[in-house]
Symmetry: none
Subunit: 402 residues, 2 copies
């Protein structure tokens, strides 16, 4: 049985509230410039430490040991969905991120405008990072392209990025990228990765042929490539599965999209963490489960800026008072994955987890750091099991078996 359906089979309802504070890219890596401490070990975060001493800690492995996750699998796992079985493709993720509501029969792809030379060879994969406005203008050239067998929609995202949506019956998204992923090569033909997707690949090629023809000319955006062909995974909502009225407090579109994939309401959360917590207070009575997404730690990690990541951890720590004051029945603080400044990228390292609840077995943790969490009483577990732990600590799972 799928994990979420197993947990669902045990779910019962009550009024205990669950809050997940997700610090994006939280996990770090020992940095030789900072006494071989991680960002979290180097930062001062007395409030998180105090929470640790009232709860229990552990370590989450986002997907499997050694596997560095993208945001999609990392979040789905935290939402209790097996991230290998239910991967969300880039196309669907982009669509969700711009507030599209795809149908399960749609195929979605992420499109990039690019610049090609006279031979059709890509010389700039981002078309000089044209503005969203220019991108809109170029898309308007393509909107009346007709391909018998499906309807086509094009949606600008940001800069040179857009979403291609194919609507029809019997479409299949198992199609390889047309993006060669490098300059010096031509955009590729869409190729079906299994026989069922051959018809859809033909539709894509019919569209691309016409589009490339129309885009020819002096514009920097004189070609396009597609990648991340995908369809919406069939994931039931938190409400269907667990009877949870759930809400996401995220600022960036992608995280809103991921939360929407499991049926969360997306609340207007302002521009920063203080705004997010204000939204939390406002909507406190209306929901059972809140997902708060804190982005900045990940961005600093990607930039390789150790001290900036430290600062953002300290800022978050200084601001969590209102969240703690709401006294959720279960509060989890964790990350979706590690983004060590030392690596300037997502990584596979396990992510510290802190759980605070009256039903926690206190484990003597006195700080919230990787080294403490690695010895914590919750042990090491895959992220996909967090949902079960949250429900259990909220007394929302009944006994399994007689």
């Amino acid at each position: 049985m799928e994990l979420h359906r197993f947990y669902s089979s045990l779910a019962i309802r009550n009024d205990r509230k669950i809050v997940v504070l997700l610090i994006d890219g939280l996990g770090g890596l020992s940095h030789e410039d900072y006494g071989y401490k991680t960002e979290l070990e180097y930062a001062n975060h007395p409030n998180l430490d105090r929470l640790a001493s009232r709860g229990a800690t552990g370590m989450l492995t986002p997907v499997l040991p050694g596997v560095t996750p993208g945001s999609g699998p990392a979040h789905l796992a935290l939402f209790g969905v097996d991230p290998i079985t239910f991967n969300i493709g880039r196309g669907v993720l982009e669509a969700l991120g711009i507030d599209m509501v795809p149908d399960p029969t749609d195929v979605l792809a992420r499109g990039n405008f690019c610049t090609v030379d006279d031979q059709g060879v890509i010389i700039d994969r981002r078309a000089g990072r044209i503005s969203t406005h220019t991108s809109e203008e170029r898309l308007s050239l393509l909107r009346d392209i007709r391909v018998p067998g499906c309807d086509i929609e094009l949606h600008a995202v940001r800069d040179h990025r857009f979403v291609l949506r194919l609507r029809g019956t019997d479409l299949d998204g198992d199609i390889d990228n047309t993006d060669p992923g490098t300059v010096g090569a031509k955009p590729m033909r869409a190729v079906a990765l299994n026989p069922r997707a051959e018809a859809t690949a033909s539709l894509v090629n019919a569209f691309v042929d016409q589009a490339l023809d129309r885009l020819k000319g002096p514009s920097a955006a004189n070609a396009l490539v597609l990648r991340g062909f995908s369809m919406l995974p069939n994931i039931p909502s938190f409400h269907e599965l667990y009877g949870l009225r759930s809400a996401a407090l995220a600022i960036y579109p992608m995280y809103k999209g991921l939360a929407r994939a499991v049926g969360m309401d997306i609340l207007n959360s302002g521009d920063d963490f203080t705004d997010q917590l204000r939204t939390l207070e406002t909507h406190w009575e209306g929901y059972d489960y809140f997902f708060i997404h804190y982005k900045y730690t990940d961005s600093c990690g990607e930039d390789g800026n150790f001290l900036s990541k430290v600062n953002h951890i300290e800022t978050l720590d200084s601001l969590i008072g209102p969240l703690v004051s709401l006294e959720p029945a279960v509060l989890a603080v964790t990350g979706d994955h590690s983004t060590p400044a030392a690596l300037k990228s997502h990584s596979w390292h396990p992510v510290p987890l802190l759980l605070v609840s009256s039903t926690c077995r206190r484990d003597g943790s006195t700080a919230f750091t990787e080294s403490v969490c690695a010895r914590g009483g919750l042990g090491a577990l895959e992220s996909k099991y967090l949902m079960g732990l949250l429900l259990a600590h909220a007394l929302r799972l009944e006994k399994f078996g007689a």
Copy 2:
């Protein structure tokens, strides 16, 4: 491959003895009245601590993170059987508990006598907790009920409880409870949960119709409800799988039944732990694997009595001398699940595990507590892997692969 068959494929025989001392409901929860210690952390158990210093510790997750197990899944897991694939239904469990030996083709259900009013609405779900004797008298009114298509047996359990056994061919136990689970409702019709069980559901209803007719009248036990329809899971015996001559030393029927489900001999173990250890000494040469079930810790946890659970842990500790003196090649001390006094129920919290063997990698554990075990060298593992660890430490598993 099923886990037990995988371990079985590696099993070899020798004369090294394995003892599992199962302390029911062993795991506890930090209790604010006792310095946020658990029962095991609060108790004095110098003998268990001494064993810990000679062995290695770890933590067992009974089923999956967050999942609170009933006794059935919790024990099957400790016996090396995946508890999700091979769940034992309540009907089978009750039957095993009263020394019945069901056939794999039987359907079993737990029955309760109840009291209904003139309209057939349940007003007492336990029929005033009639005596087992009264229950027997009421069952005798039903024993000559005949239903074409199966043989029917009725066995008294205790008080208002009995077991219904359907014997026949092509029976299927996937049938919903007739017990509405509440007063103020009528007993329900038996409904098949899949098409294969429809014929069996009809047989059940044919029996129930006649039974309700015969039970009418002034007795408190003037109706019955059924639940936990189930069939024996198809689990090979320890002897078939591992060549282990195995014996259970349990006092309560249900645990004898669970041990019988994996083919253990059930030894007459007297009335208390001292009797159980005496039985162990008597039968020491006759078996390779002993399962000793210590019940009282669970009962105190269910009662919410922290100090009584502490006392029972201390009592056990003071009495284990004879067990240690037998010097089993492998001794495991653990629980089937947690039953924290703070929750007055089974819980999902991992269970401390202590393994003592000359083949243990000593991990520096100096005590047997949740906080020590959470940092122990055996790490955190699902209970279903314990069987493999026991066999391995007894050098009863050969190398896998070339």
